[in-house]
């Protein structure tokens, strides 16, 4: 896991370059989309259209400009929502001294972890057709168990330090101990976890939209475009390839960016998440004697 110095800047540049195109399109695309033109024939190439027309004869380029925002916004909202629930849940569970309360809070989530995430979304979606807000809520719900476990693991490591015990004995309030100390020391691990979760959420949001869940069948959404324009793939491949490429760039870029940002810290984060007696966490102020570091005779 050794990283070379010059490689890091390159990784940043690579990640940013891949992510920039879809992110800028998603953020500013709608500003340049303009008014919808008259519908032309379906699946034509050229004819005044930059990237041809789609399955109902709309301009593909205009749809591309409009279609990034729903994916990005839904993913960000879902990640934020998942943490809004998981953070207090995990913190509370890590800080409580009552074992049964800890079990009561976390065990039901173990059960939820067993259900495939896409299946859960499809099940609910079959009965109540969710809109864009609904799908963000659902994806957040599916991500809560994993996020809560990650928060709990990261916080438990911080909560077992003598500092927390001292704060508790001083009679500091729960909120001050939890937010002021435990959450703050777990922040790095949580940032790493949030990056992983965001890529997972992007995957779920896009896949759900591709399967026709959470977006109208004629919505301007990259994933929906891929699905609906597949019928014309033989005559007009751009209507499919362009949004597919953008989704690939978006997910790939997000993953590479978080990896580049967290490369230096990954070691500490992983050690903190799975504390092992022979690998003390990197930022542990009181590392125990390690059997790896015994002086060799």
């Amino acid at each position: 896991m050794t990283r070379r110095g010059p490689g890091r800047a390159g990784r940043w540049a690579c990640a940013l370059a891949i992510l920039a195109v879809p992110l800028l399109l998603a953020l500013f695309g709608p500003l340049f989309a303009g008014e919808p033109g008259p519908h032309a024939a379906s699946f034509t190439a050229g004819g005044g259209h930059l990237a041809g027309t789609d399955f109902v004869g709309r301009d593909v380029w205009r749809q591309v400009l409009l279609g990034g925002r729903p994916v990005v916004v839904a993913a960000l909202a879902a990640t934020a929502l998942a943490y809004a629930v998981a953070l207090p849940l995990g913190l509370f569970s890590a800080l409580t001294h009552r074992r049964w309360l800890d079990e009561l809070l976390m065990r039901p989530l173990d059960v939820l972890l067993a259900v495939p995430s896409l299946l859960l979304i499809l099940l609910v979606a079959a009965v109540i057709r969710p809109g864009a807000a609904g799908i963000a809520l659902l994806v957040a719900l599916v991500n809560i168990p994993d996020a809560a476990r990650a928060v709990r693991a990261a916080a438990a490591e911080a909560a077992s330090r003598p500092v927390v015990e001292a704060l508790r004995m001083q009679g500091e309030s729960w909120a001050r101990t939890a937010l002021g100390h435990v959450a703050r020391s777990a922040l790095r691990t949580l940032a790493a976890d949030a990056g992983v979760r965001l890529t997972g959420v992007l995957y779920l949001v896009a896949t759900a939209a591709f399967l026709g869940v959470g977006a109208a069948p004629d919505a301007a959404d990259w994933a929906v475009m891929v699905d609906r324009n597949r019928t014309g793939m033989f005559v007009q491949p751009w209507a499919v390839a362009l949004p597919a490429l953008l989704i690939v760039a978006l997910t790939m870029g997000t993953n590479l960016l978080f990896d580049a940002a967290l490369t230096g810290r990954a070691r500490g984060a992983r050690a903190a998440r799975e504390p092992r007696p022979d690998h003390p966490p990197a930022d542990d102020p009181y590392p125990g004697p390690s059997r790896w570091e015994k002086p060799t005779p």
């Binding site: 495939p116 099940l123 609910v124 009965v127 869940v213 597919a244």
Partner: protein, 317 residues
Amino acid sequence: MTGLRSWLLRRLLLGAGQTAAVVLLVFALTEALPGDAAVALAGDQPDPARIAALREAMHLDRPAAERFGAWAAGLLHGDLGSSLVSGRPVSSYLADGFGPTLLLAALTLLLLVPLAGGLGVLAARYEGRLVDRLISAVTLAVYAVPEFAFGVLLVTVVALHLGWLPPTAVGYGGELLAHPAVLVLPVLVLLSRPVCSLARLVRAGMIDALAAPYIAHARRYGIPGVRIRYAHALPNALAPAAQQLARTVDWLLCGVIVVEALFVIPGLGTVLMNAVAERDVPVLQGLAVVFAGTAVVLNLAADTVVFRCTPRAGVVA
């Protein structure tokens, strides 16, 4: 051995609890909705006759607990009910879609472990060199990409531009095994994410293991490198990867749904998507129980493998 036995017992209990909870959850999500389920299921243009028929078929006049009891009792006897749309028993839907899905999943799993292990070991062996950087970069990049986008691009290039492989399984019916060319792209797409995540974990575990003192000691004894790598380092390197297998199961089940939709393969995923589109609740429930039950069983199997490999890892149970 007692450690293993008591752990296995606890893990089996958790599995049973998960199965029971999943059954309850599936029922709660699909039927115990606020409001009138029949009205919700009748769709955008509610037709009074259809609502009445749905109420009749779903026994909505009875309390939810009683309906759940009847459904769960049916499950125990292997009776999954019958479709609201066609009236055919749900088990016949399952039987229809079972073959293609099993074929896809079996092929993927068969290729997944050697491919991921091989890539991980190869990258770890040449750590920091070109091979390693190439494998690391590609696995990291492909790891997060949704199957449908990757698959569509593959189809566009390989099937449409180069014409090497058929773009979909349309026209081949259920006889996929007789036309192996049809299966290449779906299996490739299905493999993309799990291979990347497992290969990365095997690489990291292998590098850790190769740096451990016992490997240095084995080197000092003059044990050949191949034997050190495969007999001593690899078993320890596999533990974190085996733990990730459980997550991979989730991805594979999701992936199967997407890949079947993308390549028009008449498997369980397609049956599921049709049931979602038609709001066919009994078929949905049956499929959800089968999918979630598979996930529970495979998770249990993965945990058992991890526990056998590394008793010190302390798998949750």
